[in-house]
Symmetry: C2
Subunit: 350 residues, 2 copies
């Protein structure tokens, strides 16, 4: 860590004091997985839990960036320090639009109580989702009150965001089409708030009604099955004993907004705060955070094993040494892989 | 394998004879990672290499499914058996459109010389990309002459497709926007053919010119750097010694098509065949296939290690046993992960 010009404990102290340079350095160390990043995160771990993490997800064009700007402005008026982490799993076809969004956000970035970071490290060690959560930890330790994680809505990323947020907001627009279709997709299951943005366009009210109906159907299903754990994590340990006495399940509100004009934003922020209160009072916050910690530990194990196999062992040399035979059909990738795995297990104690 | 009503060697024999029921069974075993699937693939390995694998990639709405139908029809007229593997990495927001595409494809599916399979197993063991390649291997062993791998263009999947195909076709449409932007994205680097589909729409000729200019720029860059390995794999061992004597680099042709009417399809198929000839004569085919085999072996090792850690070891029990302490801030996910990894290595020989 001497190369950074600051020792770990000095960096940690400066970060906890709110030093801006220390924050930038810590985020950079963690984002890029530089030497000592896991030690830094371990040191910060006991300081976490202050920030409320809000995930914004939805299809491209739903207005997530404009919504983020509005949320930032509203949280700032309430006196909160706000961090924004924009996650771009780099769909190669959306580069242009994203760039424009980021430039627009710069207006907000001039406020020293606001920190904005884009995460787009393709193929970072252990995956973008884990790295994003680790950057959020740094921001949490640095004293931000609200962390907004915004993702471009492609592939698996919506669900990854839901896994890392305390409150997940799904933003749809009238033209994004059939609400029932969206329900089927499983994304709604992960959402704590449903927002129909661009509500001044035709079809907004229709989409709202469809979403409410979908929620009615789900509420019926859930009461039949006795489960109230919507929005729960997909993986990780099973949720603890079902609804405690007096624990009312959360029904995601369906809200209409027009982020471009600010219409409906105050109501949305109030709903996020209500969700937070429900999370805390129902014990769901504690359960979700425990699940997240278990999952984080799994992710770190996975990353360490990956590093061991591909950077510290001779696995790849073994594979390349057998490639002629595989290519000639004398053996198969499966036989060679079995040899490599046996050798890894055999040599693990050396 | 007795549960399948057929022993492995009987299944393999029936598959190699072209038995349709055996094919369906083998694909299903491999797709779902059922007991014995790696043994089956190891048995098939020496029989691979007959099929030409063609990847179709591009943004949503580029007309990939219509293009696939046209390609299938053209290959059938030439007397080839054709398999289509449609990869859907399940962007939760595109479910509806895809379904429509699949139904349309059923018309082609009535032909017994055509086999169509959708791959959408979210979170399959070891990842969708590996499972897709393994299904392609089964189809190759079963005697299909052409395998078309079509992906919905989201996230990482374009590049995954390029990694598994002999020839990768990137399909763009005039409205998909700036050709230069697309070039920057790195997708073009992975493409062997560039196709401007819906060429009857405004802007097609402009996009074609932009793409040609991009290729000119790249050709200039490449000749300066002395590299002719466009379209090479992203990971895996370094390509073998640069261009052999007399080895002309491949310049991706930029073609105009209108898949809906069939305009330009014959030219496109001819270009695919020319690319194949170049692949074989330049030695690139051999290099790509070797790289793919090395990467496959790595993927299988990765899968086996994952299985070991999460299904066969006590890693998860250890994590859950320490969760109270992690939650209370007495230890961190990083410290627990280090304990788990040490224990895995320690116990590996047991």
């Amino acid at each position: 860590m001497l190369a950074c010009g600051m020792r770990d404990d000095a960096l940690t102290a400066a970060l906890l004091e709110g030093n801006v340079a220390a924050l930038a350095r810590a985020v950079s160390i963690v984002e890029n997985g530089r030497a000592g990043f896991e030690e830094l995160l371990a040191t910060l771990h006991p300081r976490l839990g202050r920030a409320r993490r809000i995930g914004l997800t939805g299809p491209p064009g739903a207005g997530k960036s404009t919504m983020t700007e509005r949320l930032v402005a509203t949280f700032r008026i309430a006196g909160h320090r706000v961090a924004v982490v924009a996650v771009d799993p780099t769909s190669p076809f959306t580069g242009g639009a994203l760039l424009g969004d980021r430039i627009r956000m710069e207006a907000v970035a001039l406020d020293p109580g606001v920190y904005i970071r884009s995460m787009a490290t393709r193929g970072s060690l252990g995956g973008l989702a884990t790295a994003t959560q680790e950057v959020c930890d740094v921001l949490d330790a640095a004293g931000f009150d609200r962390i907004i994680v915004e993702t471009v809505g492609v592939g698996q990323s919506e669900l990854d965001v839901a896994r890392m947020a305390d409150s997940t907001v799904l933003i749809l627009v009238p033209e994004s089409g059939d609400g029932i279709q969206t329900l089927k997709s499983g994304v709604i299951e992960a959402a704590d708030l449903l927002v129909v943005n661009k509500a001044d366009r035709p079809g907004a009210e229709k989409l709202r009604r469809e979403l409410e109906m979908s929620l009615d159907l789900r509420a019926g299903r859930m009461s039949r099955h006795g489960s109230a754990h919507h929005g729960a994590l997909r993986s990780g340990p099973a949720p603890q004993a079902a609804t405690a006495s007096g624990d009312t399940p959360w029904r995601p509100p369906v809200l209409l907004t027009t982020a471009a004009t600010g219409e409906g934003i105050d109501t949305m922020v109030a709903a996020i705060e209500q969700h937070w209160t429900w999370l805390a009072e129902s014990g769901t916050l504690e359960r979700r955070r425990r699940s997240r910690l278990a999952q984080r530990t799994r992710d770190v194990v996975e990353r360490a094993m990956h590093r061991w196999v591909w950077q510290e062992s001779h696995a790849d040399e073994m594979i390349l040494a057998r490639l002629d035979d595989v290519s000639a059909g004398k053996t198969s990738p499966y036989d060679v892989a079995a040899e490599v795995v046996a050798s890894l297990k055999e040599g693990a104690r050396v």
